[in-house]
Subunit: 597 residues, 2 copies
């Protein structure tokens, strides 16, 4: 049995001292974020995650979902009951708009508690996570009638939602989509085609499922500019808005996967199913991208969440298992052996896990703040700046978050030794569940290409330059602060590596775009390390403030500073090698003919 406790204290430290949410009272929703209401949400979801969802995590993995011959899908034992309790408690409505019955809490709060749910049970989260994402797309792009009909029930969690993009022959390359949408005389459309890898495409948790489906109209231009978005419910709502006639769609099969086995991954067959157009014809990808960008941030959060869960269990094991003696001589001579935690290499893995989980948490919550500012700030310039910053960071958070999340789960499994390889201990599930985050919502290589091909050049490179300038301003300030000085110089060096790598790419890209592609992953990793270094310097600085506030223990604050120093000394030096990889260019990577491989 794995252990899990929501790291509420860590979340509060970031919200209060690193981000300082009280400085954002000009944003709707932030004004109401007083200590008590924030505590109620963090504690409430945190307790639900730890007490109800975490105990179902291994059960979900062991049992998976089952598709019956009639096409219905049963979720693992306990999921339906937990989902009902989850919806009844009102947690599905956290970030939903208040006009449709939601609590209208800002993204920063829903992100904070999503982490807990994902740590406790990533497979379970997919059902309500997809619903929230689908509801957001409907809210932004659908007609008033569709919104009134579908959003209230998606908000309560009575109905769930899905995203239907992938087809057997295309995942990344959505221009190849073949699913067809033919207009009917009543203003609806008949959708026909096959979609694969549809998360929560069919299940027994809700009375209806609202599919958002990308398809082509008869007059659609080829490629990505000929794709429209349709809302296709499993049951067509009747006059009273209740589930009525069964639509012509079905789950043809479910996948057997490496992980997130409690999440039903379906092949969905649309056989002239009735759907409604969402947004404008041929502009479906734009509407869908609202969901996809949010989803990418959510996937970065999954990396953090699995890392956090694995870290808690590795820590518990290192403080319980006795094996060998400290290199400096027995620490507890009365015991047959010392605790694992005495071994420097075990501690190294724990420190890396600590540095990455806490760093990624700060990053994910900061990104959530940017989402809120980009949507809620009264000032257009403030909104625009946040939007650009977010666009720059999104591929980094998705890919670096999931890469480091996976790496952390592997290290934490390693601490368990052979016992970590045995299914009953649950450490391997963290690894297997974390693995998907590197793949879906745009594989990490696609994120890297997005970063170097589009995001670095955003606003003529100004967005990127502003980000680096902000970091440099902090290092300059830190260099004269005794408590922070030793973190300042390493971060400056890392920023210089990032800047040089970007410049190299900029110049070499003129010669061939392959130089951008070849170095894209190394560049993204370099960017991620710098960004986490920035988060750690901000956290180190925040300890001063938090110390004064007295709401975190001296132990907590001392550990924060030590971990910040660890990140600077042990992680930041990786940037030199990554810069060299970027500057090695594309020639040797592109040289072999296919038959030479």
């Amino acid at each position: 049995m794995t252990v899990y406790t929501a790291p509420i204290n860590e979340t509060r430290f970031v919200l209060k001292h690193v981000i300082g949410i009280e400085r954002y009272s000009h944003l709707t929703g932030y004004d109401a974020l007083d200590e008590d209401s924030l505590t109620a949400v963090l504690d409430g979801v945190g307790r639900f995650a730890a007490e109800v969802l975490a105990p179902l995590n291994q059960i979900g993995d062991a049992n998976g979902c089952v598709r019956k011959s009639d096409g219905s899908v049963t979720t693992p034992p306990g999921f339906k009951d937990a989902y009902t309790r989850w919806a009844d408690a009102g947690w599905t409505a956290l970030e939903a708009a208040s006009e449709y019955g939601g609590m209208g809490l800002p993204k920063i709060v829903s992100t904070a508690v999503s982490e807990y749910v994902l740590s406790a049970n990533q497979a379970f989260e997919t059902y309500s996570g997809l619903t929230i994402a689908a509801a957001a797309a409907v809210r932004v792009s659908a007609s008033h009638a569709l919104k009134s009909l579908f959003l209230p029930k998606m908000t309560t969690g009575q109905w769930s939602g899905t995203m239907n993009l992938t087809e057997p022959h295309c995942g990344t390359d959505l221009g190849l989509i073949q699913t067809k949408a033919v207009p009917a005389s009543d203003g609806t459309f008949r959708i026909t085609g096959t979609k694969i890898f549809i998360t929560a495409g069919e299940h027994d948790l809700t009375e209806n499922i609202v599919h958002l489906v990308l398809a082509r109209l008869p007059d659609a231009p080829a490629g990505t500019r000929g794709i429209s978005l349709f809302l296709v419910p499993k049951f067509i709502p009747d006059e009273a808005g209740n589930p009525g006639q069964r639509n012509s769609l079905s789950c043809g099969s479910i996948e057997h996967k490496m992980g997130i086995r409690g999440s039903a991954t379906c092949t969905m067959n649309y056989d002239g199913a009735t759907g409604w157009l969402v947004g404008e014809p041929h502009r479906g990808l734009t509407a869908m991208f609202v969901m996809m960008n949010a989803a990418r941030l959510g996937v970065g959060l999954q990396g953090l969440a699995q890392a956090e869960a694995a870290f808690q269990n590795a820590k518990a094991y290192a403080l319980d298992r006795r094996q060998g003696r400290a290199l400096t001589g027995p620490i507890e001579p009365d015991h047959s052996a010392d605790l694992l935690i005495v071994h420097p290499d075990v501690r190294r893995m724990l420190m890396e896990a600590k540095a990455h989980t806490e760093g990624l948490r700060a990053l994910c919550l900061w990104a959530a703040l940017l989402v809120d500012i980009s949507e809620l700030a009264p000032d257009a310039a403030e909104r625009g700046e946040a939007e650009d910053r977010l666009a720059l960071l999104t591929p980094v958070i998705k890919a670096f978050g999931s890469d480091k999340g996976f790496e952390t789960t592997v290290n934490c499994q390693q601490i368990w030794g052979g016992h970590g390889y045995m299914a009953e201990n649950g450490m391997d599930q963290f690894v297997r569940d974390a693995r998907i985050a590197m793949i879906y919502e745009g594989a990490n290589g696609v994120q890297a290409m997005d970063l170097v091909g589009r995001k670095i050049g955003l606003r003529g490179g100004q967005t990127f330059a502003n980000f680096l300038a902000e970091i440099s301003a902090l290092t300059a300030e830190a260099s004269s602060d005794e408590a922070l000085a030793d973190m300042s110089a390493p971060l400056d060096r890392a920023v210089a590596d990032l800047q040089a790598a970007a410049q190299w790419m900029h110049d070499a890209g003129v010669e061939s775009p392959n130089h951008l592609g070849a170095g894209s992953t190394a560049f993204l990793q370099l960017f991620g390390i710098v960004t986490l270094g920035y988060m750690w310097l901000r956290m180190a600085k925040a300890t001063t403030l938090a110390g004064g506030a007295g709401d975190h223990s001296p132990t907590f604050l001392a550990a924060k500073i030590t971990t910040a120093q660890f990140y600077a000394a042990h992680m930041l030096p990786e940037t030199a090698g990554l810069r060299a990889k970027v500057e090695a260019g594309a020639d040797l990577i592109m040289a072999l003919t296919p038959d030479e491989f």
Copy 2:
């Protein structure tokens, strides 16, 4: 269904041109390694692996082993038939001593073909791999009577073998072993205790199972110097040497694991079982270490083998799947999309896979040569030097081989996108199977500690210094060769990083041994990168020779040079960051108190 073809051409390149086995005709067995007999073994095992074992790999994973209530264990469908064919073909006898019916082929040949078996079906290999290791320990340490009784049937594969070290409370820390051995009046011993994680502890492939068990005699001193080794067969041989009375031992349960599910991992209960002492009392660990060092080399080979299998399947997918367009414009405009292989980041992952598999193959075969020299060379000085070199390289091959093997399987799975996460495609099995190699036979952190704590200081540091000197001699030679010059300088820089890191550790270790532990993993990785860089420079140099011999195509040789250049330009620069990690020392890693984590 995954694909697999034994990379015989690659093996031959290393054996003939990189290692030059014809230069070792002074070693027993090498003199008989003419072209024809070598071809017969490589082709024979390669074909068996591809045609019989690879098709059972996913079946083994899906079905696993089953323990019945009577304690018997059934291997996956097809395993028994394949094992019988494997033994009937004589492949179990490859490296066994000829006096016991073996073919007596040198380690270099058995290593070459073991790779094929491991690539095709790692779980299957455990049954005969453990038998070979157990037989080696018996041959080295057991009495003549035991050898005569057990070795012939282990050679034919009629009987299999196991290693019993781990107990519930101890894996790494063998000093804690509690299993007891009490002398009986007939010269045998009664073994009582519980062993866990026993690979192939019980199964249906052979008529008898020969367990080698570590246990304590009544008068045993505490710790590792009080452990003896016992041979404990499942059935006690009768007068005629056939399986007779059932011994008092049984399989209490089998594990459900992340991977290698076709391999039975058993809890073994010894309940006063009859055993024979192997070697001297209290010297069991020494006897067992014969097996363990060989096993560690074998585990490095497993990393290579899973990487190779995953690489072949990633390559096939990249040359078949169409998605997106080349950054430089459509390569095949008549198709709806270009092949995956046009994308630089996909190629980067393929190049890394190619560089690591081919580099690790050269390294593993070189290590096998060192095993042969250390055992077979007529000259004691030559034997001793090879033994020291091997001792230095063993932890590196085990840990770096399994780390890079795992990393490669993850990258190759990534090339498959979402399809790589689906069990039916088999890519996730490579990842899950590769994962164990980082854990068993001494977790990789234990290997790193062995390297920095013992091996670097071997012979007062001379063994390590000699190795670096050998590399530097080659770079000096290469620097004046036009074809090799651009690989020489990066390797020199990497060697300098390794040397500096070693010197730093040497100095800092005086202050505290924690500095050794804290940097041990970074140091091992740095050592591994340098060693693979050395292998690549040797391979690059060997292309000249091979070109002249005309037995490899110009395409093959051109790819070799390009990959060598890729390794130098894209992989070697990682050493700077690793050196910085070593030199960051232990302070920040050891700083937190347990409750600060």
